[in-house]
Amino acid sequence: MTSMNMTKIVECIPYNGLDFEYCAVKQVYTKKFTINNPLNSMVQFEVLLDTSDNACFDIEPRNGKLHLTFLNAYSDADYVFLFSYAQSWLQERSYRYF
């Protein structure tokens, strides 16, 4: 069953779909929308795109942007810890070698 919060995320997807209307052959047209995550926890989303029709449509973001996923996996507290750890390591290195 879909929770109220998950419903809010789903509502970010255009209800009536996306109609590009008349488009010139061989030219690229784009439409954008934003997905908001109102939850207090991380949400993973996957896109399954029907590519049977000569791949006329494409959706970004797509895989290959793993660094974004990796960065998003850290909280602000994690960044503070990593930064202080790196700083202390650099300090120790400078004492040892210089």
Binding site: I9, N16, A24, I35, S41, M42, N63
Partner: protein, 156 residues
């Protein structure tokens, strides 16, 4: 089916870009399934996408422009009008096709542009002869991206 995966941090936003590039003049309807996971909870939403591919088509008012005789040092201009008869915006590019790079007698006001459906664009051709007694003929190709190709011959 194509599969992609993205993580949304708590409270974050992600802009999704959908692109459509028709390869043929036809109606295309497709779907994408958005699957959201929050822990064990899974929700799905289908996004319907549609578009109509159309061939762009531009027509030129003239295929040949003749400036006749003109004194060296003088300048003369003539115009051609490109009209877009199609239902889509047409992108065009103009390229000189028979030029050795030495003769710069002809100049066009623009080499590329977009013309909205049913609209027209005026291109100015300027003739500035540089050699006495020389007949100059330059051919241009007007290419419509994904559409037709026109020829323009300028002489003087």
């Amino acid at each position: 089916m194509f599969f992609s995966l993205v993580m949304l941090k708590a409270g974050s936003k992600k802009e999704v870009t959908v692109t459509f590039k028709p390869e043929e003049a036809k109606v295309t309807v497709s779907t994408a399934i958005f699957k959201f996971k929050e822990g064990e909870k899974i929700t799905q939403k289908v996004l319907k996408m549609s578009g109509i591919g159309k061939f762009p088509f531009i027509n030129a008012s003239d295929e040949k422009i003749n400036f006749d005789q003109l004194t060296v040092g003088q300048q003369e201009t003539k115009h051609i009008t490109l009209r877009n008869y199609s239902l889509v915006t047409s992108k065009f590019e103009i390229e000189k096709i028979n030029d050795d790079g030495k003769d710069l007698s002809f100049a066009l006001s623009q080499k590329s542009g977009d013309i909205a459906p049913g609209s027209s664009q005026k291109i100015t051709v300027t003739y500035t002869p540089t050699q006495v007694g020389a007949f100059t003929s330059t051919q241009y190709e007007i290419r419509v991206v994904g559409g037709n190709v026109l020829k323009l011959v300028c002489s003087g």
